[in-house]
Subunit: 213 residues, 2 copies
DNA sequence: TAGATTGTTAATCGATTAACAATC
DNA sequence: TAGATTGTTAATCGATTAACAATC
């Protein structure tokens, strides 16, 4: 045990671990809504198709959240994972590309309620300008820098066509964005301190085809 | 060298490898459009942020596609990867959930042109029935089995709310679908012979938050 | 030929799983 | 107490990377 209050063990956490945390969180929220108070790594593993030892190890990177012989307190674990993922703060998100996909993602705002919120939408096409998506007014690209600064946006989502994606990424970087979720089917390049996740459904679908008989 | 004509080495290929193949393919298509004839693993690695040795190894699982001292012939490698991923045939895809996201995905049909195609769309809500999405008419769930059989659909996409996802998955399984791409934020359970990929942007986004300072 | 680049083996690195003492 | 379940160490497994002979 270290002396610090909320101090966290210093250690590089692998991306695989970080990607599982939101999955744990989501299921814990389900349990919470069903008024289930406690859960074991066994239970979690069964429901999430994961090895219980892996779940215990993942959580143990961040602290001792469970009770031996009992399991994990659902509410407490939710609180802790939200802290770890920094979802205990409001994180502002901006989206560029007010097409079908962009529109669809904006509608998840309801689902993400507590934590992250898309607070600004941009599009390069003049005829999109002024359109309303889920209470947000589509803004032209020139307003991006000012709006992002004003709203304190830290994460950017790219839902433009592939040829435009790198260009949008560059503009995000210039605006001081810290992380990017790219839906365009192309690998974008950014400085190393900026985190990029690729969420490209076409590669998902194509890799599925491999497993057909 | 084995004696067979198009025979492929028998070996379990890891999922990581299979997931990279579509990324190679996509970039090779870009090169092809630029009339670039040849590419080295070095070049590929640079553009795709991957280790060249890894790329060579990935490809070598399936055959000897390159020429020492030269690199890979772009057109030939495209052909080979398409064969490996089974994208040299037409693969029919169905989608359930004609909301914003479902609508967005249907519009990728143009992009996927050659290989995979969404050929049927379903929704449980009666007022969606008969709507047109990108030349496809939204059908009620009761027609699913008949339509999927008639069209020879092998892959299903789920874009319904989380609470409905498992139910839709069950129906897909009953219809004899072989693989599922699930966009709903929930883990779905299917028999082991059916492949499921989860494409959930909320977990992508939440894991990004971890990397903010 | 000299230079470049593959395919492949060996070395490294990292992630998953098993096992078990500690303890609720 | 007996049973259950954690946190953690050790063992295993698998994936990535380095290195290099073969060869275009």
């Amino acid at each position: 045990m270290d002396g610090g209050g909320g101090a966290m063990k210093t250690q590089k956490i692998s991306e695989a671990v970080v990607r599982r945390l939101p999955i744990y969180l989501r299921f814990l929220n389900e349990l919470s809504m069903k008024n289930i108070m406690t859960v074991s790594s066994q239970d979690l593993g069964q429901k999430l198709d994961l090895n219980p030892a892996q779940i215990r190890k993942d959580l143990a990177y961040f602290g001792e959240f469970g009770k031996k012989g009992i399991g994990y307190d659902v509410a407490y674990l939710i609180e802790k994972i939200r802290q770890i993922l920094k979802l205990d703060r409001h994180i502002q998100v901006a989206l560029v590309g007010a097409g079908n996909l962009g529109r669809a993602l904006c509608n998840y705002n309801t689902y993400l309620r507590n934590d992250m919120k898309i607070v600004a939408v941009f599009d390069a096409l003049p005829d999109k300008e002024g359109e309303t998506i889920n209470n947000l007014i589509v803004q032209p690209m020139q307003e991006m820098k000012m709006t992002l600064t004003k709203l304190g946006v830290r994460i950017g989502i790219i839902t433009v066509p592939a040829v435009e994606a790198q260009n949008v990424a560059n503009q995000f970087v210039e605006c001081g964005i810290e992380a990017i979720l790219n839906f365009a089917p192309v690998i974008i390049k950014v400085p190393p301190e900026i985190r990029v996740h690729h969420a490209d459904f076409t590669t998902d679908l194509q890799s599925l085809a491999y497993y057909l008989d």
